[in-house]
Symmetry: C2
Subunit: 299 residues, 2 copies
Amino acid sequence: MSILVVGSVALDSIETPFGKRKEILGGSATFFSISASFFDKVNMIAAVGEDFPKKYLQLLKKRGIGTNGIAVNKGKTFRWEGRYEYDMNVAHTLATHLNVFQNFAPEIPKSLKNPSILFLANIDPDLQDSVLRQVNRPKLIACDSMNHWIANKRRSLEKFLHKVDIFLLNDAEARQLSGEANLIKAAKAIVSRGPKAVVIKKGEHGALYYFRGSHFLAPAYPLDNVYDPTGAGDTFAGGMIGYLSKAGKLDNVSIRKSIVYGSILASFVVEDFSMNKLLKISMDDVGKRYNELKEMTKF
Amino acid sequence: MSILVVGSVALDSIETPFGKRKEILGGSATFFSISASFFDKVNMIAAVGEDFPKKYLQLLKKRGIGTNGIAVNKGKTFRWEGRYEYDMNVAHTLATHLNVFQNFAPEIPKSLKNPSILFLANIDPDLQDSVLRQVNRPKLIACDSMNHWIANKRRSLEKFLHKVDIFLLNDAEARQLSGEANLIKAAKAIVSRGPKAVVIKKGEHGALYYFRGSHFLAPAYPLDNVYDPTGAGDTFAGGMIGYLSKAGKLDNVSIRKSIVYGSILASFVVEDFSMNKLLKISMDDVGKRYNELKEMTKF
């Protein structure tokens, strides 16, 4: 199948208890695409500034990622500065410079208007909707969002979610959107108000998938160390959607496997800054962790 | 096999956001035994006061639990008063009246000195050790502990743990004992300093078993509502040990199954106050949730 992703490309400056990095490659569409590229072809829709390093575009191309949809606009690339304390579940934003992302109005080139799978990474729900209107109905529409849109664009988001097959969000966002502390209730509440299915990402505790009244409890690969959680959610989505695209099927078995692959890809990305670890590993490494996780959860 | 448990029998007064109960049946040995009684015969070693309601002893006997080792001592039964807020992971102790439990010095009757499995519920590690010295070496020695002993009797506890096969504790206690925030590291650190294996109970996130360098990630049964988490850990231990006793085997497959049964029994006990829910369900209900959980985690 073919995947189209719409989201951000960013330059991140990150502090964790284990180190500091300046202006490293980030952004939801980037993490998603690098992760999905382990499985299948992805085309990106995004915008960068004139200052965006060419080496990063080359890096994407080298992995077979379609970059024709990345507009190079006048101005600077989106920058995010964040810090993590020892509790890595919470990102503290130090600064956000939207720059060219401020006026991001994704236009889908004609050649990309027929994706099999569309992933709308975390952007304004009105923009997510505008992208959806520009493409022919994909086999699968999946999306992410964030606390900011839940708080400030709830109506747009809820309206848009009715058009979505699989909605991915993290545990805190699921609680915020549903008003339910209990994630089992939250999953039901979210599905009752829009998307066909929901994946609630719980970090080190794995993920919860809810569809048509039944649950899948996906484990997380146990890690000794987490160095930088930035992009874990987008990497999860990339692994999941990438696997589904390659499998070419959307049945229950394939979806469960895809969620575990998402979890595995996320387990790698947090072991180093930016996408460094993903760029070092092979599909064999991914398969090895998948099999280990299967063994660790068997009963 | 035959199980011997040493621990507390208590009268609990509990407040949760969903209700209040006064002087209901509690105590680590009680929760453990009712839970284990779904699978096999348990003998209890504990002490109660003269005020302990006879109906509770009858309730235990009716489930085939051996109560000859429950001493009725002069004075009042141990009482605990606690409150839970909406975050049910934290119990706020309002009052503890040790009463007869203050001078609890378990003596094992001759007829009970040959258990196949010994479970030392959460009591002073010096008492746990004294019990161990009184019995012939069981096939399996398992124990629990709590933050109080980790803080105030660490040396006794760590010395005692060298004699233990399986140590069960919750995530907060595992972090406290090991000094490691990461539970994967905590499990390794704990095993390196004493017990052969460790089970870290993570409440709604399931449990982590670590033995000889390999992990088992046990899921928790997803619940819509938790009414009273009191006794969940002891109920988990009872289900686990009860299953192992009935299986009569301590191989890896049996241990994994036993942990899932522990998790299932715990999922029932938190759905009502005291042991009320456990007293209403049958082994069929337990088996049904076990199979559901298996289905929900399969990939």
